[in-house]
Symmetry: C2
Subunit: 340 residues, 2 copies
């Protein structure tokens, strides 16, 4: 009897990705074949003996999980751009390769950031809600009705200025944004990689590194959070930062929920200290009940983490995840591998 290589896949995959996976007859595929996340006990029970795991950001890959499947585990393929659900140092210890899909979702997330910027500036949440509530007949067109700041002429501040931030900047060019400032892990340093040919004034917008978070907070009309979640970005947007922001400025988060201190944001919105917020992510998601304080703020738009939710992107992410899994098993080059 030939020994098959066991892989555990924690979710249903779409057609092309599933077909590719199943074409590898050397694999024993143990799959949670549902649209819903695999329960943690299922993963803990099935991981033992696995050489590869294909996981989502809803799966926590920590010491307890890894204990069940080292030393057989050779590789993990994460269907995500972020890796904060995975305890990275342990992978290094156990010589486990990690694939992820950072490039596939850039466009979709950047599109979401633009949508959230406009929704926050143009009060789309309030506007849609008032129409749905049947209030339009009593609020006929008026010059000052539901007005908000205009994106043309704005300064946009980027917290994190990798692929996603730069893709957002590229999209802002056509809107007449005036200036971009950015903050990375090396404050004051010029961005090294120009992913979309938009830096150095090539796009007609000046993009310069901020000297620090204070400058970025003070100068920006739009703050776009597109950074990874690390100990230094956790609660980056808190009381201090919000206090520096302009009253006409909006905050956009397409990064990770905990980059923003929810309580501080609620306070700033309630007191009108910033104009609005557009969030794709929030601390504690998906546990956001209907009476969550952010949902009481009319100037806050909150999406259920759909930044990369386009049909095209999710297909590409699934296929790249399978390719990363296969490459991790065979020792070949992944589409994108995390340097551990």
């Amino acid at each position: 009897m030939s020994q098959k290589t066991k892989v555990v896949v924690t979710r249903q995959l779409n057609g092309a990705a599933q077909t590719l996976l199943e074409s590898h007859h050397e694999l024993e595929i143990v799959q949670w074949n549902s649209e819903k996340p695999a329960p943690r006990p299922w993963l803990l029970q099935n991981a033992p003996g696995a050489s590869g795991l294909l996981v989502m950001l809803s799966d926590t890959i920590d010491a307890a999980l890894l204990e069940t499947c080292t030393p057989t585990l050779k590789t993990i393929a994460s269907f995500s751009v972020g890796t904060d659900h995975i305890t990275l140092p342990l992978l290094k210890t156990h010589n486990i390769r990690l694939g992820y899909t950072p490039t596939a979702l850039t466009s979709a997330v950047a599109d979401t950031a633009i949508m959230l910027t406009l929704m926050a500036q143009r009060r789309a949440g309030e506007a849609v809600a008032s129409v749905k509530a049947g209030e339009w007949p009593a609020m006929p067109w008026a010059p000052q009705l539901l007005t908000g700041p205009q994106i043309a002429g704005c300064t946009v501040g980027f917290v994190g200025f990798g692929r996603i931030g730069q893709a957002v900047l590229k999209r802002f060019v056509g809107f007449g944004v005036r200036r971009a400032v950015y903050l990375t892990s090396r404050p004051g340093e010029v961005a090294k990689v120009d992913y979309f040919d938009v830096l150095g004034g090539k796009a007609g917008i000046e993009a310069v590194p901020a000297r620090g978070w204070e400058d970025l907070g003070r100068e920006s009309d739009v703050v776009v959070l597109g950074c990874a979640l690390t100990e230094s970005t956790r609660h980056f947007v808190g009381r201090e930062f919000l206090a520096l922001m302009k009253r006409t400025a909006v905050l956009v988060n397409v990064a990770r929920g905990p980059v923003v201190d929810t309580e501080a944001l609620v306070e700033a919105l309630r007191e009108g200290r910033i104009f609005g917020a557009g969030l794709d992510v929030v601390e504690g998601e998906p546990n956001v009940p209907a009476d969550h304080p952010l949902l009481k703020e009319p100037r806050c738009v909150l999406l259920p983490h759909i930044g990369s939710a386009t049909i095209e992107t999710r297909e590409q992410m699934a296929e790249e995840s399978v390719r990363n899994l296969l490459a991790g098993l065979s020792g070949e080059a992944m589409v994108n591998e995390v340097e551990l």
Copy 2:
């Protein structure tokens, strides 16, 4: 006693525009000084003897109104890009000049069109509503959750391709839109004016005239309505047009409500024959009750006609309207005058 020139202004104006108006001491200003529209009887009562009117699109300028103020009336300044609230042939008959503000709001309306395109593709209406309803905890992140088509690679069809349509195209460049087709009152003819340096492949997107509405309907992934309301554009989007559209396509209306046959659109959305719709305007607005059939369609986003509702644009529109009024009285050149 010096005879003052009477002008009737149907709404409160913002600071700069009001100051400019009041600086003209030769004027007797009769003003409806409220955020709310002037009632029709007020306008009918005050119009007699007026040399100039500064009106909003909520004021109907028809034979009955003009009868009260010709022959004193020399000029009308409309705080709008559209003129469908004004019976134009009568102005010509009575030699009344008409100013409007078509250029001021281009950017704001184009921004709205992009926002509505993304909201319709990315299911922002559904997404926001589900979070507000407290449904997020029961719908954790999943690869296919709330996915929609991606704007990159799309063909955008423009119905009307003047300033606003071209400004929308300019914004779409950064999103990786693949192709643009447009339909004007001269089907098949190349657009004469290149307002924003985006035609002739200059923006990296091919933009070509559609041979007719059938081609535009069939080829487009996004249909943007940015035309004037005329007898030939009324119900342009009806059953026939919707039947040609792709199931993955979205419809965006930043023009006038009656360009879309509401009943036909509701039917198409209900049956999933198009992917979604983003509307800033609708037939019969503002009389849209909470049980309006469009509001029952989760894939339809309806805004209360806030396309040009930015602080900057409304200030500029107000100031240009006052300038047009003054120019119309003194016989000088307006910022923008309608050729009657």
